[in-house]
Each structure stands twice: as C-alpha cells, then as structure tokens.
Symmetry: C2
Subunit: 344 residues, 2 copies
DNA sequence: CGGAGTCAATGAACCGGTTCATCATAACGC
DNA sequence: GCGTTATGATGAACCGGTTCATTGACTCCG
C-alpha cells in the first residue's frame, strides 16, 4: 500500500464512503465516535480509511464546527528561561486534551498585544493565555473585552472578569525584604521590572510592606524600576553601586536579571557577600551554583502552566463557572550564602 | 442553550458586500489586493468593512486555498534555555511573513515525532521545523518522506533531501578537546547526550579527532553518553569523579548540563580549577559568572532560528532550489578560568 | 394485521471565504 | 453606426468536512 500513499491526490470522506459503500455522513459519524453506528459498518468504514490512508482535514472540521482546537499563548518574550517551564506544562496538558498550541511573542508592546488578539480571532482560536504589558491600557482592555474566546492572564491582575494564574510576588518580595531587614540591612536597593504590570507592582508592594512592618522608611532613590533586560540590570547595578551612599543589600527582583547584575558587580570588582548582600527574585542554576550561592525566591512555574491550561480548558468547555477566577501559586524564599548581616 | 451564545453572529463577506452594494467576489478581491478593482469601489468596500467591523476568517481562507499559513516547530524539550533564542528569532521572521507558529514538544520520542507529523498534516500546516530523536529511525524517516509539506531539520543531519540548519558541534568539540589536550590533560572525561542524534554524534567525533590529531588515545571509559537531564549529568559526574582513575578534565558537552555537573562536584567537595578543569558545551550566564568562569563553546542560536525560518519560507514559496540545503553555524571556544594545566 | 415506535443510515445544506467563466459597459477603430 | 476589445464586476461552484430532517427497515403490541 505504500505505492498508493505516493498519490498527491488526498483521500476525502467521499472516497472513504465510496470504498466502504456507505454515505459520507456515516463516515463522519464513525470519525466522531457517534453512538448510532453499527459495529459492522464502523469496521467497514475503518477498514476503508486504513486502506486508503485517509486523514481528516482539521481545517474543514474547524470550518463547520466554528472552533479550531487551537490555543494561543502570547508572552512578553520566550527568552526567559523559567517561562519555558510554564509553556512546557501548558502544552502537555492542552495536547492531551486535543488542542494545539500557537505561540507568539508580544515583545511587551500594547499594539502587538492588540494585533495578536485580532490575529487569534481571525484564526478562530478557541482560547488564549497571555501576559499584558499594562493591565490598565485602554485599548488593550477594549480588545480583551471584545475577544470572542476565553482569555486567561498569565501572572497578571485585571479588574475585568478574566481568569488568571499568578504567583504571590508580594509575599516573595516581603519575605526577601524582611529577611534582609532582619539581618540588619537598612539600605536595601531594589531592581524591578515594569511596574505597570502585576509582578513588579506586587514586588514593590511587598518591598514597602516589609519596610513598613519593620518601621523603616525605604530610600526611594535605591529603587530602580523598568529593568527589563540583562543590560538594564547591568546599568542599574553599576549606577547604584557607583554613586555615593551605596546600598548594603541588592534585591534583584526582576525575573532573570541576576546575570546582568552579577556581571556589573564583577566588572566593578565588587564581591557578593561581606560588603554586599544579594537576593534574586527568581531561582536558577546561576543563583544556586554561584559563589556564594544566591538567596532566591522560588515558585512553581510548571504548576502555573498546568493550572492555566486546565482553567482554560474548563472555560472553553463552556462550563458554568464563576467568572474571573484566580489561582495564586505561593512563593518561597531559599536562603543561601549571599545574604548576610551588613559589614561593621 | 441559545443560538446566539453558541455562535455569536459575526460579519461575513456577504454582509460587507450588501453594505457596500457590491458582489461578494468584489469584497474578496479587495481583501486580496487584486489589481482589477477600481479605487472607488475599493474605498466603498473598505469603508463598509470598517463600519461593520469585518474580519476575515482565516479558517475559511485556508479551506479554499489548501494552505494554512501555519508553521510548526517541534523540538525535544522547550525547557532548554538557549533554544528559546532559536524559537524567538524564527517566530519573528515567520510572523513578519504572515505565518503563525505552532509549537509542540517531541519529548525526544520517535512515536511522538511521528504522531506530531500526522497532526501537522491534518492541520494542513505549510511547513515544519523539528528535531529528531534518531535520524536513522525507519518509521520516522518513512513519515518524513511522506510529509506533504516541506520539513526542515533543526541541528540534525539526514541523508534524505531535507533542508537543515546545524551548528558545527564537531569543530566545537575539537576546539575544546584540543584546548584541554594542549594544556597537558591526558585523562579527559566527556559527558554527551544521545549519540543517535547529530549534535552529540558530532561532538564525539570532534573529541576523537582532537585526540587523534594529538596522537593520544582517549579512554572510552571516561565517555558517558545519553546524558539528557540535569540529573543524568549529576549522576555521570558523580560516578566519574567517585571512582578510581579519575579524569583531570571534564568536558560537559551536552547542552545545558553544566548545572547538574557543577552540583555534583560541589556535593563531592570538589572545586573547579586546580585539580579539575571543566569545559562546557554551551555558554550561559552560569558558565560566565561561575567562580572560576567556565570555558565554554558558543554558537549563534538566534542566527540558526532566523535562517531556519528563511529557508523554510523559501521552500514554502515553492522556489526552485536544490533540495537538501544545509546551513552550518560556526562554533567558537571562549576560554575562561576553568581550564588550566593539570596539577603536578 | 395494522399502527406506533425505535433505530440506523442517508444525503443535501451548510460553514465563509476564493475563483473563474460569464456578463455589462465603455472605449475605440473604421 | 456597428463590430471588436478592454476592463471591471458578478455570482455560482467549490474547498472537505458535519449536521439534521428525512427515509427505510424492523420491532412491538393490542
């Protein structure tokens, strides 16, 4: 039969129907495991499909059904190592359920987010999971409210009725900051990302809460926001440590920015440890295996991906669930050698 | 279950045509920038589309055209930080050209690879870029040869006529091994991945070639293959360093396995440097910022992603190009403090 | 024996665009 | 004035499945 498969002409339901001597509707019913089909006919149709090497055309199915069995995932930047865990888990759950994952990068721009939502709609995508550059952006919110398919936000908060999975960044930052304050640090610098989005906003809140709880006023000049790339982290660290009135501790709260920070410290000849404590906002091999190992905040991104997929699947099934569900994954502080009492 | 909630009424070409007072064919011609349409009508149709908030249905377009403007990317595991660079670049190029990226993970299993190829075909995917767990696998090769769309192999070699982008891992391994041999090492251990696939196979070749060029016979007991996870790297390192006749240098050639290796060394109380040189098969923040910094092999994964997308686009356009083109990205050795002459 | 009821199979209509043979109109040449 | 072209618009057929009203066969029961 391998010679038959050479045919460029594709086999269609009609052909299977003719081969099996049944109607096209019957072939369709076999394909969809419809209960009202006798065993005998089912076997005949299945044999015909096997003989002809038939394969359904998902496009045609989507056409009629109005759903594509596609789920889109749009995140700021794939190039965040730990995010791969999220995608990996989400994809596994979705594929198990018969869905295929579409991937796109928003590059953290509202206009791209909007145009991607439009593109997903054009493709009749059944569900979307995405990050937002700015939860308050008017046009983005408009586009989200007009989306005909369920949208789940990844690590974002939104007053709208969208489902979301988040990590408890506020708690993470509170733990990290409290840990440093408890060691005796009074001048704690913080590197944080885009505060228009939930994670950095929450971290900032946690940072302030921990200070408030300790009755200490944070020095706002030590807080650098909008740290979005390794180069940003490098520059922010250099500027913080290069001036007068330098901090005794550095909380690199933005995700995956530890490298840029450590690179700057090394260039400046500053060692982590005795004179400067460092805490990372997310864990990594780098944090764990650095000398000294870097105290880090950790949370389960794989679980976030899994739950995001599950929640979206429920929503796509059209289950009657309350709107705007939120799942929050806890954060944890792993204390390592990079955080010590301040010198003298 | 109201009909409206089941299928929210959307604006179709018919509606636009009625609104603009033209035929559906004319709307279609406007949509596709067909030259034979007067400016006046074009404007009327465009106004009608804007007024009604019309959006084409890509599924319906695919249905008729027989192509989906989807490109699938299937790799072993997303959870390889540097691979994100490949995907990021490829996605950017493809989106620019009007394609959307489908993502799937093969988990390095031939049966999954085959079933994914089938799924892609069912979706009428226009092109595929993927890795293979085993280039010689009969059924996979069969499935590849039957694929109706162009397939491009990522970092794989194949005697078939498929396009491919590869990195010159042989050269990288030769450089790394030569470097260690040049420093005076005679007992070099190597951690390598699945030798059924191109990268590890090439690295092994490079390792042997460098030995041959130096007139030295490698000790095959020091070569550990099938190192595919961080845990594998941990175990392999522990076993290599725990026995008698330990190596003086460790070439961690498998991608992204440095963490597991370093973790094992630390657990065993072994320092990198004086008594043991280490070279990593791929660069990372960890390698760069470790103490001492780890000598590493580097190559441009972003360029691989970019070229993979471009080559696939050319192939999908149906250009008359010779089959089985291959693009190889060079590898480079970044010498750092972790590789030194062996002690005494 | 006839009427009601059950159940599987049928096939035409449909999903929403694109294509192309056909047609209407205007321009042009002689 | 009439035939010929050129140009642009038309709309029915088509892509490949799914759906559902209808049909046909068969069973059950009074």
């Amino acid at each position: 039969m391998s010679l038959q498969s050479r045919r460029p002409q594709t086999v269609k339901v009609r052909d299977v129907a003719r081969e099996a001597g049944v109607a096209v509707g019957t072939v369709s019913r076999v394909l969809n495991d419809h209960p009202t089909v006798t065993r005998e006919l089912r076997e005949r149709v299945e044999r015909a499909m096997a003989d002809l090497g038939y394969e359904v055309d998902v496009t045609a199915q989507s056409m009629r059904a109005g759903r594509s069995r596609l789920v889109a995932c749009a995140i700021r930047d794939f190039d965040i190592p730990r995010f791969a865990l999220f995608i990996k888990e989400a994809e596994a759950v979705l594929r198990e359920a018969g869905y295929t994952l579409l991937l796109a990068s928003t590059t953290n721009r509202p206009d791209v987010e909007i145009s991607l939502l439009r593109a997903f709609r054009r493709r009749r995508v059944d569900g979307v999971m995405m990050t937002l550059s700015d939860e308050e952006h008017r046009d983005v919110r408009q586009a989200l409210s007009e989306a005909p398919m369920p949208v789940l936000l990844i690590d974002r908060d939104c007053v709208g009725a969208l489902d979301r999975v988040t990590a408890d960044h506020r708690q993470g930052a509170r733990l990290a900051t409290g840990h440093l304050l408890g060691l005796g640090h009074r001048r704690i610098a913080m590197l944080v990302g885009d505060t228009k989005a939930f994670p950095s906003r929450s971290r900032l809140e946690g940072f302030r809460e921990a200070h408030a709880a300790a009755g200490i006023a944070p020095d706002s000049r030590l807080v650098r926001d909008n740290v979005l790339s390794s180069e940003d982290a490098y520059r922010a660290t250099a500027s913080l440590m290069g001036g007068t009135n330098t901090p005794t501790a550095l909380f690199v709260a933005a995700m995956d920015m530890l490298g840029g920070c450590l690179r700057a410290l090394r260039t400046m000849g500053l060692a982590v440890g005795d004179r400067l404590s460092v805490v990372a906002g997310s864990d990594s091999d780098l944090a764990e295996l650095h000398t000294p190992p870097i105290t880090s905040i950790e949370w389960d991104l794989a679980a976030m991906g899994r739950h995001a997929a599950i929640m979206l699947l429920e929503r796509m099934r059209g289950d009657e669930i309350e709107r705007g569900r939120g799942l929050t994954v806890p954060t944890e502080l792993i204390i390592r050698g990079s955080s010590r009492p301040p010198a003298n």
